[in-house]
Symmetry: C2
Subunit: 231 residues, 2 copies
């Protein structure tokens, strides 16, 4: 073997054997000590390689049981949801932001259910539009729990979007994202300058800080939007 193998090379090599069917789905892989002997490195090095293969969803590991190739290698898709501003600027377009409404209300029923709030909770409701080169790109409909984020009471969203404000001011520990397709209603059609009933990509996100609901937001994207991830 020789050649000072690092954990990356080991990972690559093990993966190569898996995908070449040398080690097919369900195969019990050699133990870490055996692999370490074969590759001429320390067990910790093999361990890291195998750990990452496990994180990547290629293999499954169990103490004592050893490592085996996953039967259905359903690899995880990971992508990062960028700030709209960054996404628009990355396309070479000019970003513009427009605040539409900004009010304090009592949490509507559906929101209370979604976040686990009491119906009487005071929330800030912010609606705004994000433009790419003057074309409406995304409509943002956000609700912020004022109990969790009292600073939002006084925040000024006329020039800074609530998205950017929150992301730099309020941390969270848990989040839930839902992607779906919906038809544009009259309001959304008008805002995004499209027809009523047009298919709209909808991304809804809720976040919590240790069980405390923080915010819920719905992003309605202009027609033809695609969310792309590579891995």
């Amino acid at each position: 073997m020789a050649e000072k193998l690092g954990f990356r090379e080991i990972k690559r090599e093990v993966f190569r054997r898996i995908r070449s069917n040398e080690w097919g789905p369900g195969t019990l892989l050699p133990g870490e000590v055996d692999l370490a002997a074969e590759f001429g490195c320390a067990r910790a090095t093999v361990n890291r390689a195998m750990q990452e293969l496990s994180d990547d969803g290629i293999i499954e590991r169990r103490r004592k049981g050893g490592s085996r190739v996953k039967l259905a290698p359903s690899r995880q898709v990971t992508f990062e949801i960028p700030l709209i501003r960054a996404e628009i600027e990355a396309r070479g377009a000019e970003y513009r932001y427009e605040l539409m409404s900004n009010a304090v209300e009592k949490a509507p029923a559906w929101l209370a259910v979604r976040l686990g709030l009491k119906a009487s909770t005071r929330v800030r409701h912010v609606e705004c539009l994000h433009f790419a080169d003057r074309t409406p790109f995304q409509y943002e409909d956000r609700w912020i729990n004022l109990n969790a984020v009292p600073r939002a009471e006084a925040a000024d969203f006329s020039s800074l979007s609530p998205n950017e404000w929150l992301v730099s001011e309020v941390p969270y520990t848990n989040a839930e994202v839902r992607f779906s397709a919906t038809g544009a209603d009259a309001k959304i059609a008008k805002l995004l300058k499209t027809g009523v009933g047009e298919p709209i990509f909808l991304s809804e996100r809720s976040t919590w800080l240790d069980e405390t609901p923080v915010t819920n937001v719905r992003f309605y994207f202009a027609p033809a939007y695609q969310m792309i991830a590579r891995y």
Copy 2:
């Protein structure tokens, strides 16, 4: 301090300080040796904690530059895209599969572009439907590069879906996923038993095995479908 801190506890504690704004966005964090001294553990342990925080998108690390809290802590969303069968059965519904068409063709232009194929390449084109309790749940429109997967020439998709066949037979190294919203055309409306123009959630996936295009598939979901991720 005491208490024998493991890398998980260290990770949690550092994250706690970040989210409590003790270490706000952009802050340069203490070096690994300092943290190791504070927590009373080896640098390798701190290293693993910080490594994972970096993987999670919480901090950014650079050699010599040290670690700093990300300005826009855009944490990464990771989805595990399950097999349709598993997804349907997890909902407590009965899974049924129906093959609609299965032919060998020359790659159409759009596919050649998407995957990077020569237009003359022979591909297997498979269309099928996945049902949940007899209701159409997803329409799968798949193309398989026969050069990359010659075994697909003889594969029988009448009872096993191409999705499941591929997932257990053909590995890949790179993939691209696109989520979008589209309107149901006449064909899709009929298959999914919905109206023409209804908003449909569309998931398109392309995979490669070391630069060799393997397959491209479009999943059209029945109306009201949501793709959910928690993290």
